[in-house]
């Protein structure tokens, strides 16, 4: 096959080729982006640990479980530690500066979550001081929190009676090695919250949001979960105990039609780009009609003419696709940072890249096949009569 001709045909119309490649770059980038957003939705599910269970109210996420449950859960066979998690729901200066905060049992939390790694500051300080907190690296860099800083948070759910914000002292900054814990959360001591509620310094609901149970090695998850729920079947609050993965999955399920919606957008993007590529290839083929006639007259087979046209399409699309994938990969760190609160777990995964490669090749073949087929079936004398 005349490879040089392939190359020269593409570079001859450099503007058209650049624009075509450019639009494919954008489309493939967009496709990777959309796909990564969907992946981000259930990133937590996939990264969940198998040795942790989550106990929550069977009625509602917003219903609190009695404090007394902690001791009762701890007694169940196979339970190693029980850790309280309470949603704090505060904000920093403005309600729009949202990030998650949880009050938790610090010692149990640190044992149950080995993936949480303190990269600055000290775990010891976090353990020791009641007002100490551990901040996710993304949140720390977003607001410029440093170790030793005082972070004032306004408690929307737990308003202080004096009308002042709560004060937390940054003892450490963490980074999670897995996506089930995002890098934007602030963790602090349950005791701090409890004391404030008891003393009347703060209003707000009492009780515990969820209990995170760490299992003994080798314990049967299903049996332990069943035993816990059994204990509270008669009330006062019925519980539902799930694996961490199931717990995370319920949030994904709540998102409803979003994945379908995002896929539809992806389809639209693909169709638009397919048409653009096809348009270019048809234009190129029309201009090369006479060339095709010459090649055939010289004795090039129908097959090699077919190959010539489809290779041009594949090269243009492949170039665009490769650059789109590179762009998606290159912007990944920036987007992870920008989307840390709305889509924690944003990641351009290998699967996404595979999909992008597949789509790229698909577009290349699809856009090239019509002109290639036409060129293959072109009669030499008709082709030679064509005006360039």
């Amino acid at each position: 096959m005349p490879w040089r001709l392939v190359f020269k045909n593409i570079t001859k119309h450099w503007l058209r080729s650049t624009l075509t490649v450019g639009s494919i770059v954008l489309a493939i980038f967009l496709l990777c982006l959309l796909r990564s957003l969907v992946v981000a939705l259930d990133a937590g599910v996939r990264a969940s640990a198998v040795d942790r269970l989550v106990v929550q109210s069977s009625v509602s996420l917003f219903v609190y479980l009695p404090e007394s449950y902690e001791a009762k859960i701890a007694e169940v066979d196979g339970v190693r530690t029980v850790c309280r998690w309470n949603w704090f729901g505060g904000y920093y200066q403005e309600p729009s500066n949202f990030f998650a905060q949880f009050a938790t049992d610090v010692d149990d939390f640190l044992t149950a979550y080995p993936e949480v790694e303190v990269i600055e500051g000290s775990v010891e300080d976090f353990r020791r001081e009641r007002q100490a907190c551990l901040v996710g690296a993304d949140t720390a860099s977003r607001f410029g929190f440093k170790v030793g800083d005082n972070v004032p948070l306004i408690g929307a759910l737990f308003p202080r009676t004096d009308g002042q914000p709560w004060n937390f002292k940054v003892a450490g900054i963490y980074r999670s090695k897995k996506t089930n814990v995002d890098n934007s959360t602030l963790f602090f001591h349950t005791e701090y919250l409890e004391k404030a509620l008891e003393s009347g310094e703060s209003g707000g609901p009492s009780g515990v949001g969820i209990f995170v149970v760490q299992l003994e090695p080798g314990a049967d998850r299903v049996a332990v979960a069943g035993a816990i729920d059994e204990q509270f079947a008669g009330g006062p609050q019925r519980t539902q105990t799930n694996t961490e993965a199931e717990f995370q999955a319920q949030f994904v399920s709540m998102v409803g039609n979003v994945p379908l919606f995002v896929s539809s957008i992806g389809m639209g993007v693909m169709i638009a780009i397919l048409l653009a590529a096809l348009n270019t290839m048809l234009m190129a083929a029309r201009e090369q009609t006479r060339d095709v006639g010459v090649l055939k007259a010289l004795g090039f087979s129908d097959g090699s003419v077919f190959g010539l046209m489809i290779t041009q399409s594949l090269i243009l699309c492949g170039l665009g696709g490769a650059m789109g994938i590179l762009l998606a990969k290159a912007t990944e760190p920036v987007l992870i940072y920008l989307l840390s609160t709305t889509f924690p777990g944003y990641a351009v995964t290998g699967e996404t890249l595979q999909l992008a490669v597949f789509v790229t090749l698909g577009i290349g073949v699809f856009a090239g096949i019509t002109p290639a087929w036409r060129a293959k079936n072109l009669q030499v004398i008709t082709a030679l009569r064509a005006t360039a």
Binding site: L19, A27, A272, A276
Partner: protein, 399 residues
């Protein structure tokens, strides 16, 4: 001054049918995607905005952002309902004000997934406040003091156990579904029951909000732009020594509840518009460049006949504008079937699922077509410039 006849452009588009067709369809797909996102946003926000009322006031605890956070003890709620003299009265002279309890309850969807459904405990006056806006379609309304609920028509079929005659278990207490009710707004994605029965079954110690129909002329005075009290009732209650609280119109409250998802959709729409728009401009440029190549001789003839370069420029620009216009129309036609399609998604503000329909308004369609015309003009600018700067002697030489 002489303009190049517009019929030349139409004919030129017709002669290169396949390129025209593909470009129009490509721009159409871009516009359709965009229109889809905007229709989703418009459907979602419209559900809240258009069905919120200005003559209904919503009272929330200070510092809370939604009724899930908000809490009033019975005593404090009573102070509000009894002492404030701002409410309309019904025929018997009772003020149209009620207190509600609210909880997002976990339920299973018919497709097996889990979702959070708002369960609202209401009082008889609640129905009086909303009047005809809330009406029972099937069955009957719940009986006061009974373990009965009515389900919004948008979710009745989406929920397992949500149909008429089914039983829903709240913690340890079973409730019977005795009716399906309709509301044009977000209430149609909720379950309503007797306030006191639900407070007991769900072990809610507190009330979530107070809601009342306001007398004409009362200034509520909430500034939703700055999210703070500005005047009138809002300012007065903000500084109230007994029950300090937030008050806003129902419309303002509902709009604040749709802000987060609305903003996400807006950003998504903008990102898509920019990225896909650039790609569409590239396509249009390519098509116009091929038109330019095919019409080089014609341009030469026109120029040598005395047509001015700017006339050629405008002619090309007009042609690409036509491409954009057709693309926009095709996009609207492609997107139109989603108008009215029911969908559901989680509202980030309330953590509950809300059902609504895509809505393509005339303004939205106009926006979409306007956008596509801009795409066409941008795509045509460079080829038009190239066409206008051709020299007649060169264009007519044999290729």
């Amino acid at each position: 001054m002489a303009l190049v006849p517009l019929s030349y452009n139409v004919r030129s588009l017709w002669v290169r049918k396949s390129a025209t067709f593909l470009t129009v369809l490509g721009i159409g797909a871009t516009v359709a995607v965009l229109a889809g996102v905007l229709a989703l946003r418009s459907g979602f926000q419209g559900l809240f905005r258009d069905n919120g009322r200005d003559d209904i006031a919503v009272f929330l605890r200070q510092g809370s952002t939604n009724e899930g956070d908000s809490a009033f003890t019975r005593e404090r709620a009573e102070i509000l309902t009894k002492t404030l003299d701002v409410f309309e009265q019904d025929a018997s002279g009772k003020p149209l004000v009620s207190t509600e309890t609210y909880l997002a309850v976990r339920m299973f969807k018919t497709d097996g997934g889990e979702t959070n459904v708002p369960v609202r405990g209401v009082q008889p006056t609640t129905f009086a406040i909303f009047g005809d806006d809330v009406r029972v379609l099937e069955g009957r309304t719940f009986t006061l003091g009974a373990d009965e609920v009515i389900v919004g028509d948008k979710i009745a079929s989406r929920l397992r156990d949500g149909g008429l005659g089914d039983t829903i278990q709240f913690n340890t207490t079973p409730f019977r579904v005795v009716g399906v009710f309709h509301h044009a707004g977000a209430f149609s994605s909720e379950i309503w029951g007797d306030r006191d029965r639900l407070m007991e079954a769900l072990e809610r110690p507190v009330l979530n909000r107070v809601i009342g129909r306001i007398k004409p002329g009362v200034d509520i005075g909430w500034d939703d732009e700055d999210d703070k009290p500005k005047s009138g009732l809002a300012l007065q209650l903000d500084a109230d020594p007994q029950v300090p609280c937030k008050v806003m119109t129902e419309r303002q409250y509902l709009m604040s509840q749709s802000a987060a998802l609305g903003a996400v959709l807006l950003v998504l729409g903008q990102v898509l518009a920019i990225i896909m728009g650039i790609a569409a401009v590239f396509t249009a440029t390519n098509t116009m460049l091929s038109a330019l190549a095919a019409r080089t001789r014609e341009i030469g003839i026109l120029l040598s006949l005395g047509f001015k370069p700017w006339a050629i420029f405008l002619s090309f620009l007009f042609e690409s504008m036509l491409l954009g216009l057709f693309g926009g129309v095709v996009g609207c036609v492609l997107a139109y079937p989603i108008h009215g399609t029911e969908t559901g998604t989680m509202n980030f503000n309330t953590f509950t699922e809300v059902a609504f329909a895509f809505r393509l308004t005339p303004e939205l369609l106009a926006q979409a077509v306007g956008f596509s015309i801009v795409l066409g003009l941008l795509g045509g600018a460079w080829p038009a410039f190239r066409a206008a700067s051709m020299e007649p002697t060169r264009t007519m030489r044999r290729e």
